[in-house]
Amino acid sequence: MKITRRDLLVWGAGATAGLVFTPVPWKLLSDVSIWTQNWRWIPQPTHRPVDVKGSFCTLCPNGCGMRVRMVAGWPVGVAGVRSHPISRGALCPLGFAAHQLIWHPQRLRTVRHRGSASSWDEAHVAFAKACTEGPVVIVDGYPGHAASSLFEAFAEKQRGSYRVVSGPEAQALTPYETWSGVPAAALGYDLENVRTIVSFGAPLLDGWGTPGQFTRLWAERAVGSADPDLRLIQIEPSLSRTAARAWQRSAIHPGGETALAAGIARVLLEEQLVQARGPMPPLTLAQSAEQSGLSTDAIRDLARLIVGRPPVVAIASDDNPSIAALNVLLGAVGTRGGIVQKSKHAKSHLPAESELDSVRAVLIDSSVPGDFVPRTDAEVFRFAAWDGGSSKADWLLPAPGFLEELTDIPTAPTSAIETYAIASSLVKAPPGVQSAAQFLGRVDPDLTPVDKIIHTRCEALFRARAGTLCAQETTPVAMIPSVEKLEEQLRIGAVWMGEPQHPGGLRCKLSEWPQAPRSECPPCNSLGTWQAPVLPPLASKLYQESSLREGPERRNA
């Protein structure tokens, strides 16, 4: 039999067509696919034993309890700690991916001076020279930390000043400081006992205060009933996530909070719905209605609704004094379920937002949000763990990042009870990184370092023999045998919780209705309250891949 060229072509074509009906090409395709999906440069997890450590989130001043899973010395996951008395096992969405911030692409690793590479030695020389030439201002974002004591001591020795940048929750308490003389840092909200909350744009269900505290209370006491034990009334121009889940909501004109608070106060006084007899707000009810966008009848109904289930407290999203005055009228200051004094030791601090005149240098700690720009002509030394490349500071100094620094966690700004915790350094900071406290310690070696301040604070707690230590079990401090044991427990994730203060110690005197200097922009809660320095990369799930939140503005742009 002679095989022709035509036979070969037919056989080849037939074989090719037949091959398609066998598993061979598909298996080859699959194998090639798997092979190309597993290039050697595709990252793989490290398979080592998992170690679990207790720590605290330092993204914001609230310090939620965290359980950090560690592999080969690196964090691979975080979860909340149910035994934490305030956060109660909850974390905000950013907290769940915060362990990845160590490797954030915007991580600052070298000293920068006016955009050029520099060194720590040059920064030290420049700062030491500034200290000899004039007063220095230290700006802190987390007042009350051990590093804050160091900053205050340095500023005092250099005849400079210590300033604070507060979050919106802390700012909302400043009017009471003016009227009562008690520092705002010593005040908090007794949310456990309140039964009606009137929120003027405060994002209570969107990261306000300690994220787990109010959301748990709300879930336990406000959900599942048409007439819940805890009534949340949200007053806000837009349908925020808090407004969407509130028991009642009132849509008002943007910036109408001040007028509405005055209108509610007028109704409360005219109809004698509260014990207070004044002061009467200057706005008429018609003016309040016009400015707030609600009808006069709606304001009357709202006022009656608010007092229908005491204790009641109004929560502002900023330092609006009209809303604070409404609380005074409602009798929500210094009473159970209202605004209470939690500490007798907290101090008042100067705000950093005002102009810093006659200053030679400003040192800004890494705890200060990245969008803070001091109003000064002085030389600015800015510590930051991350930077978008747009900082206006003269000196940009790389600071330790998340979980890289030993720090303590004082009481959260909105909490009604004192707490104390220690976040140990779980990860070794990269070379060339210094905290502001370490930097100042080199300038002035006589300053007490942070670890010794923390030890001193533990000694004070131990000597007072008050409060309890909350870990898996709750132990009275009086039962702890030594200060070393107390500090050891705190360093592995326990939380000290103080005794509740008697609410009656706080009194506000209000002779006339406050003039409200309206803020330049209406309250905005699209990003929560305290903005993280940078977003964890997995926050893309929130901002790009779902419709939950509007994309964050580029704050440093």
Binding site: S30, S33, I34, Q37, N38, I42, P43, Q44, P45, T46, H47, V50, R69, W74, P75, V76, G77, A79, G80, G89, A90, L91, C92, P93, L94, F96, H99, Q100, W103, H104, P105, L205, D206, G207, P211, G212, T215, R216, W218, A219, V223, G224, A226, L239, R241, T242, A244, R249, P536, P537, L538, S540, K541, L542, Q544, E545, S546, S547, L548, R549
Partner: protein, 247 residues
């Protein structure tokens, strides 16, 4: 006793914070891809914001976490997969996805009535050094395959290993909690054994306010939702309606 893992999600408790989405991604080594969008992202747990369509004071909104419903009966994705890359685990009721078998044909995405499956368009990539943060219990998400929620199966493995080490046959339910359940700050997501009548989740699933999406098509999904609001319960007829009413 047979086990049928499932969830009850109380929509009245969900504040739409998104902690479940981020915790899920971190647990399952989902890469943070800057190019991903709402159409191309890998979100085994996706929270959708849905309104009642009204405006002004009458407008109501709810947040609905959507994940694989782990259909028990004639599971659509199982029946269409040409590679047997999806199967219903008889022992747990979990619908398992095996990316090594997946061809990436995406029939299952078309078949899934809940739109809870996602195609992975890109090789997994992290910023330099961030690969050290990968969860060692879970593989990285490979390119060109379909992904979905597997109820944090790696955690079930860990719980089984722990039970075996202790000489027990059954796991302690406290040892197996999916990441989204653990992360929810309001305890809106409850997880348990639907086959156990004494399990709180099983009881919640049979409450009058509980419902399942697209129950009428008979796939017996094991993710239940719950709401006291009638307009929310009325959404159960159509997931596409949920999508239309987004935003």
């Amino acid at each position: 006793m047979s086990t049928r893992y499932g969830m009850v999600i109380d929509l009245d408790r969900c504040t739409g914070c998104g902690a479940c989405m981020v915790a899920c991604a971190a647990e399952n080594n989902v890469p943070p891809l800057p190019q991903a969008t709402s159409r191309t992202g890998l979100t085994p747990m996706l929270v959708r914001r849905v309104s009642n369509g009204m405006e002004g004071q009458a407008r109501r909104e709810v947040f609905i976490p959507i994940l694989c419903m782990h259909c028990e009966h004639e599971t659509p994705c199982v029946s269409v997969c040409p590679q047997q890359a999806v199967e219903l685990d008889k022992g747990t009721g979990i619908v398992m996805q095996m990316p090594q078998r997946c061809l990436g044909c995406r029939y299952c995405m078309t078949a899934c009535p809940y739109h809870a499956r996602y195609f992975n368009w890109w090789d997994p990539a992290w910023p330099q050094g961030m690969e050290k943060s990968l969860n060692p219990g879970v593989a990285v998400r490979m390119r060109g395959v379909v992904e979905k929620c597997n109820l944090c199966h790696a955690r079930l493995h860990s719980a089984k290993e722990k039970a075996a080490a202790a000489g027990k046959r059954e796991i302690d339910p406290a040892d197996y909690v999916p990441a989204c359940v653990e992360a929810c700050p309001t305890a809106a997501i409850q997880f348990g054994n639907l086959a156990d009548k004494d399990d709180p989740v099983s009881r919640e699933a049979h409450s009058p306010d509980a419902f399942r999406f697209l129950e009428r098509i008979g796939t017996e999904p094991k993710v239940y939702y719950k709401s006291g609001e009638a307009w929310v319960r009325a959404l159960k007829g159509s997931v596409s309606e949920v999508e239309v009413k987004r935003g």
